[in-house]
């Protein structure tokens, strides 16, 4: 004997050998399952010939969707190690899968790794969904709950789309092939905005088609964005991982697919109200501007501008009422409960009211301007009357005469002319040419 180990040394040496084996998949029956207050899980995995200790540490043990029970056949995955203090080897388990699904599950894991390595799950390949899809292709069974749920949700939320169902078998041998082909077919049709691919809930075997490679590849190939809707909350299928968006159920997929018409109506009402408010404010500003201008510039020009403005508002208003009339005609005879209800919340009523206000406003604008104009006109007339009163012609009318020399210069004093000169005397109508025969500097007339 060249070397004597202590127990600890030997255990350590064995531990190195055993941990070097690394990760293992082991199949067996569960016994002696215990979960003490620490939260860790312990059990023994055995078959006819042997047994091995297993442990699942917290917090993994708390997160697992599936925990084994005594007597269950399971497949476990974990790392081989040695519990030094106890001197026995054990598996530190990180996955537990019910027996029977074991092989499928391993194949699935392998496929997942392969597709992940190829980048099929990468976020970079995820296509954005259309905000307002017009035609939605659905790949599912024609007889299942999924299509009915989708139709129900869409008709409630946004009944303005075209749904095209491509019926397929969703479980059994041909399911995967049918699903994959349906996705390809819908991509060839050309005017489809969005695809929903899925089925209602079922056992993991029922959902298997959605874990197959051809389905994954057709989803990845799809030019149209795909929402996966496989009714299974816990595990993601491969279809879920490749899809652009994953929904937990077909109903949820429909919710994601379309917007809510009610909130859109609110948004449009809000925008329309803002539009009208802005325009009203603008017209107020224009009105003030026009009033100032009308006061500054000539009254007639101001009135012209006001008229032009009023006319434009009238034209707008008439066009709007025309548009509304066309709509009303079109809708006549289509009176059902729904349209009535919708009409109740229509923004057109508000628009009509706003237009009436707008029109009234324009009317006020016009009368304000004409008031200013008539005021100016009255002032002008008064001035003209005063001017008229001062006119020399008016004086002549009253019997006075105007005397000028032959050149038309007014003669207002005797010293402006000599005896023997000729002067002109103008009356209200006509005149005389007179010879000056004498002068006086006041008193009687002796001319």
């Amino acid at each position: 004997m060249r070397l004597i180990y202590t127990v600890s040394q030997l255990t350590k040496a064995l531990k190195e050998i055993i941990t070097s084996i690394g990760e293992v998949w082991v199949e067996g029956e569960v016994s002696n399952f215990r979960q003490p207050y620490t939260g860790h899980v312990y059990f023994t995995l055995k078959d006819e010939g042997s047994q091995i200790q297993c442990v699942i540490f917290k917090p993994l043990s708390l997160k697992m969707s599936f925990l084994p029970k005594d007597g269950m056949k399971v497949l476990v995955h974990g790392k081989l190690t040695v519990y030094e203090k106890g001197g026995y080897y054990e598996i530190r388990v990180d996955r537990v899968i019910p027996y029977g699904l074991g092989e499928l599950q391993m194949a699935l894991e392998a496929l997942k790794r392969k597709l992940a390595a190829e980048g099929l799950f990468d976020a970079a390949h995820k296509k954005p969904l259309p905000k307002f899809p017009r035609k939605i292709g659905v790949v599912t069974s024609a007889t299942g709950a999924a299509i009915r749920d989708i139709i129900r949700v869409i008709s409630r939320r946004f009944p303005h789309v075209h749904i095209l169902l491509h019926p397929v078998t969703v479980q059994g041998e041909n399911a995967a092939k049918e699903i994959a082909e349906a996705i390809d077919t819908l991509n060839r049709i050309g005017d489809i905005d969005l695809l929903i691919v899925g089925r209602g809930g079922g056992s993991i075997e029922d959902l298997w088609a959605f874990n197959e490679e051809i389905v994954a590849r057709s989803i990845f190939r799809s030019r149209i964005p795909v929402i996966s809707a496989v009714g299974h909350e816990i595990d993601y299928t491969i279809a879920d991982l490749v899809a652009d968006v994953r929904a937990p159920t077909p109903s949820a997929a429909a919710e994601i697919a379309v917007p809510n018409a009610e909130s859109l109506k609110e948004q449009i009402n809000h925008l329309t109200a803002r539009l009208i408010r802005t325009m009203r404010m603008r017209l107020e500003v224009e009105k003030e501007r026009l009033e100032k201008l009308a006061a500054k510039v000539s009254p007639e020009r101001g009135l012209d501008m006001v008229r032009e403005m009023q006319q434009r508002v009238d034209v707008c208003y008439m066009r709007l009422t025309d548009l509304m009339r066309v709509r009303v005609e079109r809708e006549k005879g289509r009176v059902n409960g729904l349209t009535l209800r919708l009409r109740g919340v229509s923004p057109l009523r508000a628009i009509r009211e706003r237009w009436a206000e707008l029109n009234e406003l324009a009317g006020r604008l016009r009368s304000a301007a004409s008031a200013i104009i008539s005021l100016r006109r009255a002032e002008l007339q008064k001035l003209a009357a005063r001017l008229d009163a001062l006119s020399p012609l008016a004086v002549l009318k009253r019997g006075y005469a105007l005397c000028t020399d032959l050149k038309g210069r007014p003669v207002t004093r005797p010293d402006q002319v000599e005896v023997g000169d000729e002067v002109l005397v103008r009356f209200h109508e006509g005149g005389l040419r007179c010879l000056v025969t004498g002068k006086s500097d006041g008193g009687e007339d002796n001319v």
């Binding site: 905000k131 307002f132 017009r134 069974s141 024609a142 007889t143 299942g144 709950a145 299509i147 009915r148 139709i151 869409i154 008709s155 009944p159 303005h160 789309v161 075209h162 749904i163 095209l164 169902l165 491509h166 019926p167 077919t185 819908l186 049709i189 209602g200 018409a261 859109l264 109506k265 948004q267 449009i268 925008l271 329309t272 803002r274 539009l275 802005t278 325009m279 603008r282 224009e286 403005m309 434009r312 508002v313 707008c316 066009r319 709007l320 548009l323 709509r327 809708e331 729904l338 349209t339 919708l342 009409r343 229509s346 923004p347 057109l348 628009i351």
Partner: protein, 79 residues
């Protein structure tokens, strides 16, 4: 042409018009034009939303490979 405008386009245009009218002082002529267009867009959106018409069709593949669309009538509960 305007009949062909989609809901999405009409809504986007309405938003743009409201933004423009609120944020800049356009000439009155232009502002009235845009206002009119905005009212038209609002009308188009409301009209689309008013017309509730959910169309559901089913794709049928003939044996010769041609594709047909027929109205879809969901069967009674089966699953």
């Amino acid at each position: 042409m305007e009949e062909r405008i989609t809901f999405e386009e009409a809504l986007k245009r309405l938003e743009e018009i409201v933004e423009a009218l609120e944020s800049e002082e356009l000439p009155l002529e232009k502002a009235l034009e845009m206002f009119e267009e905005g009212i038209r867009m609002s009308r188009i959106c409301s009209e689309i939303l008013r017309k509730a018409e959910l169309k559901v069709e089913e794709l049928v593949k003939e044996s010769d490979g041609t594709i047909r669309f027929v109205p879809f009538r969901p069967f009674e509960e089966e699953e």
